[in-house]
Symmetry: C2
Subunit: 384 residues, 2 copies
């Protein structure tokens, strides 16, 4: 009996040891501080599996969680009241996250902050096999300029960020094409030059001679929607769109940019692109204004089909580049709204003679790594 009990105990103990060892072995202990940690902070960290590990001192807390990718991971408390824990492996690139401390959702005090999900909050940079294209390098750098202006259309002070390419201040006889580049829903005018790294992507491409230098205008496309949302029985685009961002863009922003910067102020040298909501805006605004834009990019924001083109007089003739992209995981997701099959749409647009491209970002979802890569591809095609 004692022997049996002992054996039983042994099995239980060994099972526990096995489980403990297995759990431990699942996490590879090669974590390094993320580039999105604040200066002087050791966390957040990421390991070679792309797990994100956070740490916070909260001696009196009962429950602390890492909330990333719509999953909450419990942290463990040590004898000093310091909580530590990590997520499952994440996709390469940038992810928003937050901490939950006894029911309070707060930014991680160790991370840098970014605007997304309709709030300023934490983000973590997960190393990527192709991160070289958006890294800070010792190459000639353009500037990102905060540009404050009054909008007659919205009767308010607004702000945009302008990327001017390297040499803009020196080559004072040179005029440049312009890309109007929009963020997604719940983001703002800071997104593309912060987590999007649009300026570094362009600086690196220009240094390698892979992209033509151009100006990028990043404004705020968030707009109060009148009428019900599609989910509440409304139609897309929602009623009121026409007097929203499109009017500010076409009546205030474009004339201002053409007046205050050394642009090539014509349709041939004007592009619009955007991610997610910004891609949907690009679709609507360029279809309504083929006299204004000749180059179009939609990143994870639907697609344009032959019927759209046929309903927009001049679009087929005047639009010289049509670029559609998605993260590969989005294509597998039945909930992704793509306006039909983007691949099929692009194929048919090519058949009617349009310069169309479809790009799939490998192993990424509806997230910034898809959009960084999309800009990297688009920038090499545009204005050529």
């Amino acid at each position: 009996m004692n022997k049996i009990l002992l054996s039983f105990k042994f099995v239980i103990i060994m099972t526990c040891v096995f489980i403990f060892t297995k759990t431990d072995a699942q996490v590879i202990e090669d974590f390094k501080t993320s580039t999105s940690a604040q200066i002087g902070k050791k966390f957040p960290q990421v390991n070679s599996e792309r797990r994100v590990r956070v740490q916070i001192s909260a001696p009196e807390a009962k429950l602390v969680q890492l909330d990333i990718g719509a999953v909450k991971y419990d942290l463990k408390k040590d004898e000093n009241g310091v909580w530590t824990g990590e997520s499952a492996p994440q996709d390469e690139g940038f992810h928003y996250y937050q901490l939950n401390i006894d029911g309070a959702s707060v930014p991680d005090p160790a991370s840098l902050y970014y605007y997304g999900a309709s709030r300023w909050g934490s983000g973590v940079e997960v190393p990527a096999h192709d991160q070289d294209f958006y890294e800070l390098k010792n190459v000639p750098h353009g500037q990102v300029r905060e540009h404050i202006y009054y909008s007659e259309e919205s009767k308010s002070m607004r702000r945009c960020f302008i990327y001017t390419p390297p040499g803009y201040d020196k080559n004072i006889e040179t005029r440049y094409p312009v890309l109007y580049l929009q963020h997604g829903g719940g983001e703002n005018e800071t997104g593309w030059s912060s987590q999007g790294r649009a300026n570094l992507i362009m600086d690196n491409l220009i240094a390698e001679g892979k992209a033509k230098p151009f100006i990028i205008v990043m404004d705020n496309g968030t707009w109060s929607q009148r009428g019900p949302r599609p989910s509440a029985g409304g139609t897309w685009p929602p009623k009121g769109w026409a007097d929203g961002f499109m009017n500010v863009l076409t009546k205030d922003i474009i004339p201002m940019i053409d007046k205050e910067y050394r642009t090539l102020p014509n349709q041939q040298n004007r592009a619009m692109a955007g991610l997610s909501m910004g891609g949907m805006q690009t679709r609507i605004i360029t279809l309504a204004n083929p006299d204004l834009f000749s180059q179009v990019g939609m990143f994870s924001g639907g697609s344009i089909n032959v019927e759209d083109v046929n309903n927009s007089p001049g679009y087929k003739e005047n639009v010289k580049l049509l670029f559609i992209s998605y993260g590969s995981h989005e294509l597998d997701n039945p909930r992704t709204n793509m306006n039909g099959s983007p691949a099929e749409n692009v194929k048919k647009l090519k058949e009617i003679g349009m310069n169309s491209h479809f790009y799939i970002s490998p192993n990424t979802a509806h997230e910034w790594q898809s959009w960084r890569r999309s800009l990297y591809q688009f920038a090499q095609l545009v204005f050529k």
Copy 2:
């Protein structure tokens, strides 16, 4: 007996009512959302007494505090797990703060974030009687440009922000004076154009014709100090200072700015100013380089006396403006290091013929409102 008891009860009840009423009456219920709240958030709020009120949902927390001005205020929890509470009255202007949730110090998820106290974290804007001078108005606006560069001195990539005045891109024959403007300890190159509002202060002054348009360069003056700190037996300036920020400023930054911007590239049109640590740097760097700078501003960062001037050959003749300032509460604080009496120093410098000014910011301490006002004053004197 019953009557006595009743009277006694009555007194107790009335005392409670009185205390309750008094406590309640102490907080005037005219709170308004601060301009430093994130878009769509109702808190932080400030009332007419300049109390700061915060609110956060933390249903499982035992203790939530507002930590502002080195004082922690307990919040109160309601039946929904939402905690609310307010501070004692604060000085006018901008203040860093944080929340403490069961021992964890975290940013308030409702506020905008600023770099100070060596971290990105919450800040709150308390309305001021003189806030008009730093408000966003429909006047011509300059730009704030993010400028990335490689420093030979530090062998690293660095970043500064450059304010170019309204019309800089238009008046392409015009060259401008330059102010090198430094942040304080635990702050960085973002401080002056974010919580400092340097660009808005300048835009408003220029619109009113009260300041000459000039370029402002805001770089990162934080430097690893070699040798012991003064508090650990070292001397101020710490050993190694000379090959720290001063070298990067004089060997990398100034030549770069004079090359890449339309500056008036001479001593007569070059100023340096800074707050706190940046003021101390201004003192050391301008005393060591009177051939480089003709205008000097020190905001809450010590003062320059006749002996300093006598020990710096050329300083007396070449420096055309010397501006010293403090918040009034700093002057009352025996711990403030002012290098003697700034008022007395300025008086004596005037006596030896130097154009010296001493400004006291009313009812403020070692905080941004003192420095906004100091820049507002300094900008009206400089380069004239």
